[in-house]
Amino acid sequence: MDLALTEQQAMLQTSAADLLRRELPKDKVLELNRSADGFDPHLWRQMADLGWTAMVVPETAGGLGSSLTDVGALFEILGQYACPLTVFTSGVLSAQVLAEAGASAHGGLLSEVATGEKIVTFAYTEPDYGWGPGAVQLPATRRDGAYVLNGTKLFVPDAHIADSILVAARTEAGDDPGAGMSIFLVEKEQRGLSVRQMSGWLGDRLCEVTLDSVEVPASAMVGDEGGAWAPIDRAIDRATAVLCAYMAGGARRATDMAIEYSRTRIAFGVPIGTFQRVQDRIIDANDDADSMRLTAYEALWKLDSGHDDAPLAVSTAKAVASVGFPRACEASHHVHGGIGTDHTLGLVEYTGKARTLQPYLGDAAYHKRRIARLLAPRS
């Protein structure tokens, strides 16, 4: 038993924090979030050069083949700085899908993802939003050795700046939603594909991806026809654990802001942190942040060490994070009062992230349902 980060992981965290403190101060986050595409090529290049997009990519495909715990340690810091999640979209989630489903046939693309030359997103969710296998209904119809995709993917992260899109589609309908799902690699310039940024209080850029009779060759299929759910399920589990570390970092920062503010803000002649009501919100947020961190690292550790019940740990971590991150932000708002709603303070950006990530890769109810099924005694 050893709950400390390794020296190497600690160094990784330090160097990440150094970069982000310099390149991504809170006014830069706000500026980026308000920019047209929410993407900073200069920052992207630096992150890629540090290998952040290469960590989950196997060494055989030109990546670093890092442990997931290493990746989580990095993303804990990214979460603290509310770093845009493009590095996650492409460098973790899409990379995992590629690696799990078809590293062999698409090793070239995976290498480009690792170096950051290519940005790839994963289009899974549809108008009936959800993360179970049943959520994918978009049909891919075989025609003359090619496939034609028709339909809409919604809430797809970073599709507006992606070079390629991994589209989960249904090559076969049937009673078992886990069967008949396939993945297709669709290039951005593909005829019939259109991408539109959605607007609102979205912590990251989410897009509507419309596929209007998009015809792709059979070689665009990533992995086996009809067998995509199993690798997607594994890839999502691995990515989710990393995302949980990111969310833990965000919750920690929102909590620390509240702690700091409670020490310096004076009301009724004393720091507000001396009031029990204020303390209680901070104590709760601190518990959330700590629970998120422990459950995230436990999930990462179970995935790294190949535990059978890693999915249980992942769902536990995400259920904790989906509840804890928004709640910690809300507590921090509560402590800050009106000033917390001022964009220039920075807290609002964490709250936006928290609420957007809450349903991403499965909300608390989804993961709790999964936990209950995993816990049920075998009959």
């Binding site: 009936d128 809430f155 939603p177 809300e330 509560h334 009062g337 001022d342 991403y360």
Partner: protein, 411 residues
């Protein structure tokens, strides 16, 4: 017991009058915007003009005396007017009504005549000039200063989180200013009606989560006539208490209405997930019911307060209880709606995919922002504890237009 108003035939006839008047004066395409942030341009001008018309009919303050610009009507007719205005979803220009009880309770007869008709006729727009950077929950810590020059006062200082349409739109800024730095806390303030056009007053918008409808008010050597002081020059805190008594929920509401809840129920009724109607999902059913229950129970608190207020009963903790619950259930319901609607309730008013024109997204932000103004959650709890008689400090309610001059003693 009776939890509803029942209307006579004459009252129902009056309702038809109100309906007809609204049909005549409000074109059918005119509706309140989903986000009050976007109460701009032509719509603002229309709403301002409509406000004047309503005011001159006495329908802005139906139960107040006609001598001051009110309607001199019964509570029932006031409720009917409110029902019809709401049903029609007319756009309203924000003017903080809480100035009215302060003047009614604490103003001299001259001041009532001077200020009230303009306000009640909808000619004048009022912003509440309360919060300061160092006086939020601790409102008594107001630091802005008013110096007496005999005929007038000179005011310096800064207010923040002042709500309204912004520069050039306000007529009066009302609130407490320190008149006597040597006097003890709660006895060192005066309550001023500051003309917004006074030289030295500037409004700068804040960049907030809920938009740019809140302002920093800078007051630099602003000269204000002496008769713009409401109450004595050491009674500003007491005047503010009358305002807060109302703001903290003491007036109540006669209806159980919640547009965000109605939207949510409709969303669930139309949506599907994994190929099945969302309304049949047992988890969704629980969330819908919890939203309804929370909203309904909070509404009953508000209805009880309305009844207590209009039956001229003395309230203790009830105002703050209602205000607290409104703040808390808003947060809880926003949370439940996120759990059911997922990212749909984060889609903004410009997004074609947004349900109800983005109203759920506005609610996601407003429910969080609303926890602070009008007394934070903490302030409400402090008041409730005092009035339950368990706190170190004991207090009873401040006088309101309904109770002033009764057993509380006149102010």
């Amino acid at each position: 017991m009776d939890f509803a108003y029942h209307y006579t035939a004459a009252q129902e006839t009056f309702r038809q009058e109100v309906k007809a008047w609204l049909a005549e004066h409000v074109p059918s395409h005119i509706k309140a915007p989903v986000d009050s942030e976007f109460m701009r341009g032509d719509l603002y001008d229309f709403a301002l003009e409509l406000r004047r018309k309503l005011g001159h009919k006495g329908w802005l303050a139906p139960t107040l005396p006609t001598a001051y610009g009110g309607g001199g009507l019964s509570v029932e007719l006031a409720v009917i007017i409110e029902e019809e205005l709401r049903r029609r979803k007319i756009p309203t220009v924000f003017s903080n009504p809480l100035v009215i009880p302060a003047i009614l309770v604490w103003g001299t007869e001259e001041q009532k005549k001077k200020f009230l008709p303009g306000i009640l006729h909808g000619e004048k727009i009022c912003y509440q000039n309360f919060t300061e950077p160092q006086a939020g929950s601790d409102l008594a810590n107001v630091q802005s200063r008013a110096v007496n020059l005999g005929d007038e006062w000179v005011i310096n200082g800064q207010k923040i989180f002042v709500s309204g349409g912004g520069p050039g739109k306000a007529d009066w800024l009302f609130g407490p200013i320190m008149t006597d730095p040597d006097a003890p806390r709660h006895r060192n303030l005066g309550y001023f009606m500051i003309p917004a056009t006074t030289q030295g007053i500037t409004l700068t918008p804040l960049d907030l989560m809920n938009g740019r409808n809140q302002y920093i008010v800078m007051m630099e050597d602003a000269h204000v006539p002496a008769d713009h002081l409401i109450g004595g020059d050491h009674q500003g805190w007491q005047v503010a208490q009358t305002v807060l008594e109302q703001e903290h929920g003491g007036g109540g509401q006669p209806h159980l209405i919640d547009q965000d809840l109605d939207n949510f129920i409709e969303f669930v009724g139309n949506a599907s997930r994994d190929g099945r109607p969302m309304s049949e999902d047992p988890l969704v059913q629980q969330q819908v019911a919890e939203c309804y229950i929370d909203s309904h129970a909070s509404g009953l608190f508000s209805m009880r307060n309305h009844w207590l207020y209009h039956s001229k009963s003395e309230l203790t903790y009830e105002g703050s209880q209602s205000s607290l619950q409104r703040k808390l259930f808003g947060l809880r319901n926003a949370d439940r709606m996120r759990a059911v609607m997922g990212p749909y309730c984060l889609l903004g008013i410009d997004e074609q995919r947004a349900p109800f024109g983005g109203a759920p997204e506005v609610f996601q932000r407003s429910s969080l922002v609303r926890t602070h103004p009008g007394g934070t959650i903490e302030v409400q709890k402090v008041i409730i504890a005092r009035r339950l008689g368990i706190s170190k400090t004991r207090e009873s309610a401040a006088p309101t237009p309904q109770t002033a001059g009764r057993k509380n003693g006149s102010p």
